[in-house]
């Protein structure tokens, strides 16, 4: 039973890492399409560009909220962007 519980927990941890990586993939995709979002994102999160790339490059130990918030910021910036207003 304990083995099964541990296995399920391991699965959960792997899933968590996968989700963070999917977030990172989507965030990087947006940053690649519009590089001006890099500084918008780092300014909004109050971190340096280096720290932002560190967190995008290594998801271990970074809470999923960081990526959730980042994606949210990108989404709202695109929504508020000038071209959308037009």
């Amino acid at each position: 039973m304990k083995g099964f519980i541990d296995q399920k927990n391991e699965q959960g941890l792997r899933k968590l890492e996968q989700i963070k990586l999917i977030y990172v993939h989507d965030i990087l995709d947006c940053l690649e399409k519009d590089p001006s979002l890099v500084s918008i994102l780092s300014n909004n999160l109050e971190i340096s560009n280096e720290e932002l790339y560190d967190k995008l490059g290594n998801v271990e130990g970074v809470n999923i909220s960081f990526y959730d918030q980042s994606f949210d910021i990108i989404k709202s910036k695109i929504l508020k962007s000038d071209k959308f207003q037009k």
């Binding site: 519980i5 927990n9 941890l13 809470n63 959730d68 918030q69």
Partner: protein, 272 residues
């Protein structure tokens, strides 16, 4: 052309909305699998982020839905085990939400005002020096007297009747849980650790010309100290560890006061 552009952007936003929804649903997929309480807590959203409450509500309601579905299966042994597991997770998530709500309530100024003396714990840099001592290097010595007054007020001040001197920083959600004491141009930033224990994070001079820089400095310090603050929140729950922490900080406080007094005295242009 604009209409075409508008439609493209609408598609982008719709696509991103869907992605975000999927991402958020995945919080639940992780929580359902995790068995270790510590891992579950670490996988939950953090209270500093704006989406904490809606995300937690979403996770809890999905757990409840899942639980209700299993309850329809009757007394199946396996189903009962899953129900028990889900209920534990629901309770864990609910208690996390309650803790954050309680913290918000405990931190408020009315509660702080009920203590005639507050104990000060100073935020430290990774080199072990206090941030306050480091901040003093950027403050002209003629203002040291004001820093001392701000520390005195934080320690012994009557907060209830001094609303112009102490305020909660609410103009930016990143300043969640932060308070400011005002002494002429000096600002002392702190947050509450527990009941009568406060965490002194920053002393700085107000920059008249740029409120945004002021705000950014506070937010940056809040981020830099957030890990230590979280650790200290746990330490103050343990009476023995808390006692040691307070003793250590009593000594630090004396040293800081001494330094401020010495430099204040040696400077003739002290601000009145």
């Amino acid at each position: 052309m604009y209409i075409k552009k508008f439609n493209i952007d609408r598609e982008v936003i719709f696509y991103m909305d869907e992605q975000l929804k999927e991402h958020r649903d995945s919080y639940y997929d992780v929580i359902v699998l995790l068995q270790d309480k510590k891992d579950v807590l670490e996988a939950l959203p953090t209270p500093e982020y704006q989406n904490f409450f809606p995300l937690m509500e979403g996770i809890i309601s999905r757990l409840v839905e899942e639980c209700m579905e299993y309850q329809t299966l009757g007394n199946d042994k396996e189903a009962l085990e899953i129900i028990r597991e889900l209920q534990e997770k629901i309770e864990l998530c609910k208690s996390e939400v309650e803790n954050v709500k309680k913290q918000l309530a405990d931190d408020n100024l009315v509660n702080q005002a009920t203590y005639s003396k507050r104990r000060l714990v100073f935020a430290k840099t990774t080199y072990g020096e206090t941030f306050l001592e480091r901040d003093l290097k950027d403050i002209p010595p003629e203002y040291y007297g004001k820093v001392l007054s701000a520390l005195d007020f934080l320690e012994f001040g009557e907060m209830k009747s001094n609303k112009e001197k102490v305020r909660q920083l609410t103009n930016n959600k990143k300043m969640f849980g932060l308070y400011e004491i005002k002494e002429f141009k000096i600002r002392l930033i702190y947050r509450v650790l527990s009941n009568n224990i406060v965490y002194v994070m920053q002393a700085r001079m107000k920059k008249d010309d740029n409120a945004l820089i002021d705000q950014k400095e506070v937010i940056n310090r809040s981020r830099t100290t957030s890990d230590e603050y979280r650790q200290l929140k746990k330490i103050v729950q343990d009476p023995t560890e808390c006692d040691m922490l307070l003793q250590e900080n009593e000594i630090i406080c004396c040293k800081i006061r001494q330094k401020l007094e010495e430099n204040k005295r040696s400077n003739k242009g002290e601000k009145k």
